[in-house]
Symmetry: C2
Subunit: 499 residues, 2 copies
């Protein structure tokens, strides 16, 4: 047996302080989450990133189903004419649409390559869905005749395409994965209740699984979804002080029902248009996850969604010792797995233990267990938690319960740390000077009065790059003056620079 | 409280004997599995169909992961130039490609509608993936340097598009859902072993979950995947005597590694091209499922993949009786669910029990439990199995174990029935006359000698529409003469007309 050690440097991750944007990119790449593909703006989600997304998807899917939703699948393509039916919707998406115009390739006349067959031109162009309201409401027309057919509570897990000019892994890509819920209701009240139910589910998921504190609220008119009467959102704060919209839930009123002529016979036997909501979260959440918890050593993952919760690494000099360590490691693995903890025992002989330590640190595995010759003697192991990098020696006899507790502690600690950071970074501003100084000096959220007009919002954005992230749901009502115009205002809103 | 009974006719499903194709379509539509969309050739997979697909996906996904595979996600779009790199691959797919040529829409000059913005033309057209070998092997080039990076065992769950001219729900649609595995290996032997492993997994899934007997074998050169050196397949027999290819696993040799220049340093420190496989099954399996088991009353589903295994329907005349039935039904539901059986109690007062019986029969729910006033007195229920439509009275005390047994029996019965049908429909032909008579009179598989040439295969196809479905793996070797040319042959192959 030949020992083949591979000597590699610790992954060089740019520090946050040096270059936040490079730090983000390094983590996405070096933690093996994703990479850029040969196709402009499209990413490859690598196995580790895909496993993380599957965990997030499965948890959300259960939450959706528990609240009565079902999954369906609608076409990837949307006829161009469908887009024109809802005026503000087409305005919102027309500039970033991938358009299919032909359905065949052929060999070129000079036989030098393959070209588009001009004789196979579509009569009507097809848009690769950027979102599916139009094709879905065209379908609902056939599903809904009477109040008995309502509510319709469908969700779809799908890929969508928005032709972004400047892209970044997870945060802004031409193609991304998401879920989009599209529901149909008999009354405005019911639709509004659904809009709220779903933003609450997103907040629950963000906080209790991603350990990411969020602020729930509604968008200003200017920031609403194209075609919505009201947009609810959850906003999270990244470590660089910029906000990130992590999920949205839209009250669409009767806009799409009118655009696609979807009427139903109500209990009073009268025809009325159907009320709608739509709501979605996407792989963008992985970008948020990276930025909320990670450090200069790499990714940090909350245990509840980590693809791998515990890794066991043997430290040894000879194969005889490895055999003894392996016997114990396999037993530990079985014990932990019986508690539904995911465990990998990495006994690869072609990599050194130091290389492995680094690998799992960069990938953010919450708990590492190390077993060496000394631990064999003392019937103990060393455990290291990824969030604080603290190590401790633990008796093999009590290991399982210690690890269980530790995973809970890590989950809690990550949330508390992020919540503290968020709380420290919501600052009140009562003058324009305070407002701009906070944005320049600290970033974060600025809680300030605003006169309620889109015009003012746009001037503020132009001058500071800050936008209204949301009008929090639990906002106290108080008299004040708009930060820019001095006009009267009844409540503060949250401004921030955002992703 | 007002009783609102809805009187509806039993769903009119065309009988198989009258019009097999209409029967198929009726079941897909009336069992609420899918429907045609407004987009040519694209279907909407409805919630019931989607739930069925998710069950199938989850079982397969577990089988893939258990054998060491991981999921990843690759771009929807493939640059046109990638296709040209592997000559036979482009020949196979060029004629059915959806092509993206532009990335923006705009308002028309006359302001009368929305048009493609000609100034936003792509430099290189993008193909909506019909299969992902090219984009994936272009990615693998960066993942694989040494034998230590091998094997790469990736799978992806995705949508793909093939521009079919004549489409049918599930069987042949422009867009469909599937999984595509793409693996990379250090040796031809390893890649061949993987090709075989995956066709065995597909056969296991088809037989033990879908209750669908299949014949495993290899394709003739003519029927191979575009770019493969060898294609293994599973073939199933539909009730109309036509075969359906239910899954394929391809040995790709070094073709794609050469096309995308993917080399690795082997253990002897020499550069070599990587060996490849790819394998996939799609929503087409749902089409197979419909055709293998269903009858003139509607869909029949094997319990192991049914979205709903048991439905409980109350029969009552007054709400007082309903309340008593509900108490028992809820208890039964809890008991069955504790055994991991999925149960729905349909106590909707707006539909009659007869309407419900029909509904669940059409949808193929394996077991129906009926509870009426008499059953309350006698502490019994009536159960009806969907496969044979047999009814029996069962004591409430022993119901759970009876239903558990019954679900196993139904699963087994469906497989045995289909296996018997398949066995009865494999016929040997030793002369051209026998061959054509069997195809005309019975359909099914015809086991016959063939001289091994593509030319002969094509003449046979032209004359009879039958193709070589596969050369079975466990084929006995025997001397014989080609059914068409009389030339010597060493083994029989299976011919059939196919979907």
């Amino acid at each position: 047996m030949q020992f083949t050690y591979i000597f590699l440097m610790a992954s060089n991750i740019t520090s946050k302080e040096e270059n936040y944007s490079a730090w983000y990119n390094d983590i996405a790449l070096k933690a093996d989450l994703a990479e850029n593909s040969a196709v402009r703006g499209c990413m490859v989600i690598k196995p580790y990133g895909c496993s993380l997304w599957e965990n997030m998807r499965d948890i959300l899917d259960k939450m959706f189903k528990k609240t009565g939703h079902v999954n369906a699948y609608f076409p990837l393509f949307i006829p161009k004419s469908f887009f024109s039916r809802e005026a503000s919707h087409v305005d919102g998406f027309a500039k970033e649409c991938a358009v299919v115009t032909h359905y065949r390739l052929k060999n070129s006349a000079d036989n030098k390559g393959i070209v588009v067959d001009e004789s196979a031109k579509l009569e009507e162009e097809l848009i690769v869905r950027p979102t599916s309201e139009t094709i879905i409401w065209n379908t609902y027309k056939n599903w809904i005749q009477s109040y008995r057919d309502l509510p319709v509570l469908c969700n779809q897990w799908a890929n969508v395409v928005r032709w972004e000019m400047r892209t970044r892994l997870f945060l802004r890509t031409a193609e991304f994965l998401w879920q989009e819920g599209h529901t149909a209701h008999a009354t405005a009240e019911e639709a509004l209740a659904e809009t709220e139910r779903m933003i609450n589910i997103y907040a629950d998921f963000a906080q209790n699984y991603m350990a990411m504190p969020v602020i729930k609220g509604r968008k200003s008119a200017n920031e609403r979804f194209a075609g919505a009467l009201d947009t609810y959102c959850i906003e999270a704060l990244m470590q660089d002080g910029k906000a990130l919209q992590a999920g949205t839930s839209h009250f669409l009123g009767q806009n799409f029902a009118k655009a696609f002529d979807v009427k139903f016979l109500n209990k009073e036997n009268q025809l009325d248009y159907v009320w709608a909501t739509s709501w979605g979260v996407s792989t963008r959440l992985i970008g948020a996850l990276i930025m909320v918890h990670s450090d200069n050593n790499g990714l940090v993952l909350p245990p509840k969604i980590a693809p791998l919760q515990v890794v066991i690494v043997p430290v040894y000099k000879d194969l005889d010792t490895l055999a003894k360590i392996s016997a114990i490691a396999e037993r530990i693995k079985v014990d932990l797995e019986s508690k539904n903890i995911s465990v990998k025992y990495d006994d690869r002989d072609s990599y050194r233990s130091g290389w492995k330590f680094n690998e799992y640190e960069v990938k953010g595995v919450p708990v590492r267990i190390t077993i060496g010759p000394r631990d064999l003697e003392n019937e103990q192991v060393e455990i290291c938690r990824r969030d604080t990098l603290e190590k401790q020696l633990v008796s093999q006899a009590t290991l399982t319960s210690t690890v269980e507790d530790l995973l809970s502690q890590i989950q809690e600690n990550l949330f508390n740390k992020a919540a503290q950071f968020q709380q420290n970074n919501i600052r009140k501003a009562d003058t324009w000077e305070e407002f701009t100084q906070i944005l320049e000096k600290h970033g974060g959220f600025v809680s300030a009065h605003w006169d309620g007009t889109t015009q003012t919002e746009e001037i503020i954005k132009e001058k500071t790059k800050a936008t209204i992230r949301c009008i929090p749901f639990d906002n106290p009502q108080e008299d004040g003056k708009c930060i820019l115009t001095g006009k009267p205002s009844k409540e503060r809103v949250l401004f921030a620079k955002a992703y």
